[in-house]
Assembly symmetry: C2
């Protein structure tokens, strides 16, 4: 099966927005053993016409993102209908959905929203639970076109709940392919590959994928042979042990919250260089209020002293980025919050303020519980955003490992 993706969006070609749809759809399709053969980005407007006619000459399945909105440069629907020679028809159910959506915000849809309720003859539509533009699935001879809205949260929900299930049921019938995934922290992609790939190939696996993020890798294996996958699981677990923090796609914060709920333990955070990111990640998880009550962002030394009772002598003698300071921060947060575990982070996020002894990327993390405290020292990315992400990941992983050991 030949699959092509057409992404529309001037903002992608201007570099204002990174195309994340391609990676998302690629991973989803790979999970059932399919690959994207070609992808193209065109600006909003007329340019999609040529791209789509070319794809129609080659592909069995064409996924198109964007250009379904109400504005004048959103013409993916109209051009597709023209090219396929299918007249547009007004669907009252779609219009009702749009009107209802506006009503909930005490608004009335504009006339140009009406275009969103028009679909090409013979198309299947997917109501948009996170927006107004419906998705469209259009069978055309032996081909299938799927039109998805551009905003990521509209696209992903619609793909997950409607488009992908439809395709799995009606198009990808024969392939019974299973995937296993492991999220592994603290190892780079090439080291991981060198260590695991020969072992996996030895048991007959060939479809092995890696997805690297800063300081961690998702290892993915697909096969139609379930016993191969079980063997792979044994091998990967034996090789990477505690560094595996997730099976599947669950995020670190979701795992930590779930473990804390199960163990009935509370978490507190005391953040300097991560600046609230650990708390933000925990509170992204619905239900986190049952395990997370207190967080501090003590960005200044004065705040560390006043809020977390870090002795000023500790700061003077060892500096804010030190084992002694993070230990005092964690202990202070534990005492003040009466949580079961407190984590504290202090480091040099950069780009300035590094020096030879403590370069940009230096990070100290401490964990404190009633029974013990422990610390780790890392040298992480020199990019500020990546640094914060990696530091928060290590901080959460320490909590995960503690909760798992109970």
């Amino acid at each position: 099966m030949k699959i092509e993706v057409i992404n529309t969006g001037t903002e992608i070609l201007l570099g204002h927005v990174t195309n994340t749809h391609l990676g998302y759809l690629a991973k989803e399709l790979f999970s059932i053993g399919h690959r994207i053969e070609r992808q193209i980005t065109v600006p909003d407007g007329e340019a999609i016409r040529q791209a789509l006619s070319e794809s129609l000459n080659r592909a069995d399945l064409i996924l198109i993102t964007g250009g379904l909105g109400p504005t004048s440069d959103d013409i993916t629907r109209e051009i597709t209908a023209e090219l396929l020679d299918k007249p547009l028809q007004f669907i009252p159910e779609i219009w009702n959905h749009i009107v209802e959506r506006f009503k909930r915000r005490e608004k009335i849809p504009a006339d140009n929203n009406k275009r969103q309720a028009m679909i090409p003859e013979g198309a299947i539509y997917f109501q948009n639970e996170n927006g107004t533009a419906p998705g469209l699935l259009i069978p055309y001879n032996h081909q299938i076109l799927v039109l998805l809205p551009g905003p990521p949260r509209e696209l992903t929900l619609m793909w997950e709940k409607q488009a992908f299930p439809w395709l799995k049921q009606n198009l990808f019938k024969s392939t019974e392919i299973v995937q296993k995934q492991w999220r592994i922290l603290g190892i780079g992609e090439s080291d991981l590959e060198r260590e695991i790939e020969p072992k996996l190939r030895a048991i007959g696996l060939t479809e092995i994928g890696y997805c690297a993020r800063a300081g961690e890798v998702d290892l993915r294996v697909i096969s139609s042979n379930r016993s191969h996958l079980d063997q792979a699981h044994q091998i990967v677990t034996k090789t990477f042990g505690k560094a595996i923090y997730s099976l599947g796609n669950q995020s670190m914060e979701a795992i930590v919250v779930e473990l804390a709920q199960r163990q009935n333990r509370k978490i507190a955070t005391a953040e300097s260089c991560t600046g609230g990111l650990i708390a933000h990640r925990l509170t992204l998880v619905s239900g986190s209020s049952s395990v997370f009550e207190y967080g501090w962002v003590t960005y200044a030394n004065a705040a560390k002293i006043k809020e977390l009772k870090v002795p000023s002598e500790t700061l003077n003698q060892f500096g804010a980025v030190s084992r002694e300071t993070v230990l005092a921060m964690a202990q202070g947060a534990l005492d003040e919050s009466h949580a079961d575990i407190a984590v504290a982070v202090s480091g040099i996020a950069g780009p300035t303020e590094g020096n030879a002894e403590r370069p940009v990327g230096t990070c100290w993390i401490a964990w404190a519980t009633k029974d013990r405290t422990w610390t780790e020292n890392y040298l992480l990315s020199q990019n500020r955003e990546t640094f914060k992400m990696m530091a928060s990941q290590q901080a959460l992983d320490g909590i995960r490992q503690w909760l798992s050991s109970l």
Copy 2:
């Protein structure tokens, strides 16, 4: 000038790697008024042949990334030479560079590295300071092809130091188009378009683009006529006033930090439903430590009482999500931190815990300064992540407006 980009890389089409080259090159080209008209991703190997022949029919400048390495599926150089009918020639200087590079690592290049020292007749080459594969610039009739290595740190250095300077000097002699952009908060895409597009068209502008995020829109106008753009700026400013928070691509948090630095004011945060996101966003900005010292994530009522001195009667009488509670939180944060402005947020991020009186999406925000306090009440998204983003955006915008009024 028509510019197209061809990215080769199976890993992009499998979703293992996000294509960051496109955004990088797009921003670089736009900085001198050029844009990419079309971008395509093909897997490693033969697929580049068709993509390149298509581009040769349309584009004046073709940028190709990847496929210059030593392995058997790296054949961008060979296919390009074939298509342009230019024989490959061995260049001793390139080979010496490769041998030197290996020598520094106490290695000897393999035979297949020799292919990297072959260039099409008439091509200009760029030595690779971060790798072995040289870049190539090939004039062909009136067209220019530029072949760049795939690894980002090889590509960016070569582009910055060699390819872009060459193109600026020899190809892009005059700047043709200019862009203006406004980031506008608190309005949806279709309302915005209805309000502004007729006015912009009336002064002769046709290239009008919109990029919507939750609760806000980037409005973008491109023209070669600077006076049209100046008029557009007047019109947009008059229409949307204070709702415009950024000209260009600067983020809300970067603007707030910059304003606070300029005004020499300090910010404190007291977060319930946003869970640390406001602090996280502020601390993403390098240099934010000069304006942000104290942040609290008081997720539980007990934390609001203990850390921010919210009276328990206030919580009992009005609830955590109320004008009275956020006011007390903001005042508590201001008193404790001695900042110049404190912002407090409390709301119902969902998906559970909403009710008829206070549905999911309800959000109260308070700001406190020495002179006055004020509050706003919003009904935001029902999606947890989007809710947090929108709430943090409104919280920061209140700070921005206060700082701008000083």
